[in-house]
């Protein structure tokens, strides 16, 4: 594992931007925690209410945030690590594509926090057959060396293998092809092959198990 930030030292008022950012991050989380539980009762010590634990822990998180910020002002530390956009955008984008397509969904734009409802988009359920390769292809672009054709073929093949593994062998209730993307003759041929295999397996089994 690689550890920590580049070892270059920062100058100026803030001696450790790395710790400062960490501290601010903690403060933000603490604020979220306090906001999320502000209306919950603390209760008494002999009958602790639902709000006490989140509140106390959030305050402690905040306290460590302050500690880190103070530390950042007085002690030399590391420079902040730079964020890369390409990785998170494509990797998490691929995951989101999967989530949206697997069972279909209705996306709404706006309609919260005072923003008027701008648009709703209805996405049909496309199942693993479509969501799988797309998730593979989209996420693959997080890497610069990805070859489009290679990854497209790879995505389709791996999705089919996953379909056989999770759908046929493990019987997971994951939708595979709800939209009927696979042409009917192909699907029938597949069913035929499947029952042929089951038949052959049955014959072999009968030979050995009586």
């Amino acid at each position: 594992m690689t550890s920590g930030a580049p070892k270059a030292r920062a100058h100026g008022l803030i001696k450790s931007p790395f710790d400062l950012a960490g501290g601010v991050f903690l403060l933000a989380l603490a604020a979220l925690g306090l906001a999320g539980g502000f209306n919950l009762p603390s209760g008494t010590l002999s009958g602790i209410g639902s709000g006490l634990m989140p509140r106390v822990v959030a305050i402690l998180v905040g306290a460590f945030g302050v500690l880190l910020i103070v530390q950042a002002l007085f002690f030399q530390g590391d420079r902040l690590e730079s964020w890369h956009l390409r990785g998170p955008v494509f990797v998490l984008g691929g995951v989101l594509v999967f989530a949206v397509l697997i069972r279909g969904s209705t996306l709404t734009f706006g309609g919260f926090a005072g923003i008027p409802l701008l648009a709703t988009v209805k996405i049909p359920a496309l199942g693993l057959l479509v969501a799988g390769p797309l998730a593979v292809i989209v996420s693959a672009f997080a890497d610069k060396t990805t070859k489009p054709l290679e990854i497209a073929v790879f995505g389709v093949v791996m999705t089919l293998l996953c379909g056989i593994l999770f759908k046929e062998l493990l019987n997971l209730p994951i939708p595979f092809d709800p939209a009927g993307v696979i042409p009917d003759p192909v699907y029938r041929a597949y069913l035929g092959a499947k029952s042929a295999i089951a038949l052959a397996f049955g014959i072999v089994k009968n030979l050995f198990v009586r």
């Binding site: 919950l40 002999s46 639902s50 634990m53 460590f64 964020w83 997080a142 890497d143 994951i174």
Partner: protein
């Protein structure tokens, strides 16, 4: 003497009961499959046991609880062993415990002795695993009996101790390590409060009113965030190109390794028992010890077989004995065991002292399967090393999208919920942020799992004591556990010890 004899017959009886369960054709098959698939995924560089178990969790859904647990345990050992294989052949440790193996293991591989390194790792792991299984079987009954003496206050303090261990063992800043555990505890309070039924920290979002799923958190932070990290650090993947060479160590190798394996097994077994991921220490401690004992310490780091045999034995022994706190007290000592809690809950099993008394078949069957799993690893892995090597040559640009696909299918299948897939992506980003700000994500998950239990026990303890915090200090067990926790924090903060702690990790990485 009578007591000892009774203990021995009990143990033999229990183990044979377990063997009866584990040796059924179905459970043997599940154990085999688990080990095989676990190794298959675990061998992929950058995929540790945590990611492997989360990814493969759904494949156990259709199986009965005992079969599922046997398979999951198999997946766990497989992933562990796969990680060692990667460490030796590619110089990339799958997780912290195989960091040490890269030092001499990869050097051996470069010298054309990859086969011997893999062989001795497998043999050492098998011996350590066998001994550790016996340790678990022997300690299970007395520890379970002890667990029944634990009151809520004692449980609470024990968990505090476990978390403090995790702080001491985490890398980098102590403040950040404590903060990250607190974040985990904060996340654990999300969802409906069990006592009052009030929704907490949900911001009105109904999807999380049942609380966050462990698998979602683990997959986001150890699956996705890890991939994001790997994409940025262009690791020089140093796959050994030459021959793997003879797998079986010769007489001289065996003679050199016997001592280290015995000492590593002992160290690993004891350290694995500690709450708060003591198992991590095993390989480091073993490596340091062997280096000190060696007649010629300069050989270490240049392909000394002792540097592979000892740490690998310690690694596997610790991985095994880490089950003890989970099975007897119901407290997961590390992230992998935290995931096991999640898996057990899905199958309707509540980990804790009652498993052994109420479900002896499950308990002893699982323990017996541990030994069988270790044997299987030895049998299936050595002939399959050629296959693993070919796997390692698959470029990362193909591997990571496949991992993402498997993660997506896995998370979706836990509750058939697309929303949880989205949440996992969110936690991927969260984990990435944590890494960027210098927080290690592993203790967060431990805090998350222990958080719920801690709050429950805290409330119970305070109800019993009528609101007096003194109960935590006055109860002898609880008081001494808290005292040890305090000493641990002081130790972690003391500058001298901090330095040597850094040194241990520096030397290893």
């Amino acid at each position: 003497m009578d007591l000892l004899a009774k203990f021995a017959t009990d143990l033999a009886g229990n183990l044979s009961l377990g063997m009866g369960v584990a040796l059924s054709l179905k459970n043997l098959g599940l154990c085999f499959l688990g080990c095989l698939i676990g190794t298959l995924i675990g061998v992929l560089p950058g995929v540790g046991p945590v990611a492997t178990i989360t990814m493969l969790l759904p494949i156990t859904f259709g199986i009965d609880p005992i079969g599922a647990l046997i398979m999951l345990a198999g997946i766990y050992y497989g992933a562990q062993y796969g990680g060692s294989t990667t460490a030796i052949l590619v110089n990339i440790p799958g997780e912290v415990t195989s960091v040490v193996t890269t030092l001499d293991g990869h050097q051996m591989a470069k010298q054309g002795r990859a086969g011997v390194a893999l062989g001795i790792a497998a043999i050492g792991s098998f011996i350590a695993g066998s001994v550790a299984t016996l340790v678990i079987a022997a300690l299970a009954a007395p520890l379970t009996a002890m667990a029944l003496l634990f009151g809520p206050a004692d449980y609470f303090s024990l968990m505090v101790l476990g978390l403090m261990f995790a702080v001491v063992l985490a890398r980098g800043s102590v403040a950040k390590a404590i903060a990250v555990i607190l974040i985990g505890i904060l996340l654990s309070t999300i969802g409906t409060d069990l006592e009052s039924g009030e929704e907490r920290l949900t911001f009105g979002w109904t999807e999380i009113s049942d609380g966050l799923e462990v698998a979602v958190l683990a997959m986001g932070m150890f699956g996705f965030a890890e991939i994001l990290r790997n994409l940025e650090t262009t690791q020089a993947r140093d796959v050994v190109h030459g021959r793997i060479g003879n797998l079986l160590p010769n007489a001289k190798d065996l003679k050199q390794s016997a001592g280290p394996i015995a000492r590593g097994t002992l160290l690993g077994s004891v350290l694995g028992l500690l709450p708060g991921n003591g198992a991590v220490l095993g390989p480091f401690a073993s490596y340091t010890l062997e280096k000190k004992l060696a007649q010629d310490p300069t050989r270490f780091g240049r392909g000394a077989i002792e540097g592979v045999a000892g740490p690998e034995a310690a690694n596997n022994a610790g991985a095994q004995t880490a089950f003890i706190p989970l099975l007897t007290l119901g407290i997961p000592p590390n992230v992998v065991m935290a995931l096991m809690v999640g898996a057990m809950t899905i199958h309707g099993i509540v980990p804790g002292p009652q498993i052994m008394t109420k479900q002896p078949h499950l308990f002893w069957g699982m323990i017996a399967s541990m030994w069988i799993g270790n044997l299987m690893l030895l049998i299936i892995n050595l002939p399959l090393i050629g296959v693993w090597v070919r796997f390692l040559k698959v470029p990362y640009r193909l591997m990571f999208p496949l991992i993402i696909l498997l993660c997506c299918i896995g998370i979706y299948s836990v509750n058939n919920s697309p929303t949880e897939v989205v949440m996992t992506a969110g936690f991927g980003l969260f984990g990435y942020a944590l890494i960027k700000y210098g927080f290690e994500p592993a203790p967060l998950l431990l805090g998350f799992v222990l958080g719920r239990l801690m709050e429950e026990k805290l409330r119970q303890a305070l109800v019993i004591s009528r609101g007096s915090f003194m109960t935590f200090i006055e109860r002898p067990l609880s008081g001494s556990l808290l005292l040890v926790s305090l000493i641990l924090v002081v130790i972690a903060i003391l500058p001298a010890i901090r330095q040597s702690r850094e040194q241990v990790f520096q030397e290893a990485s």
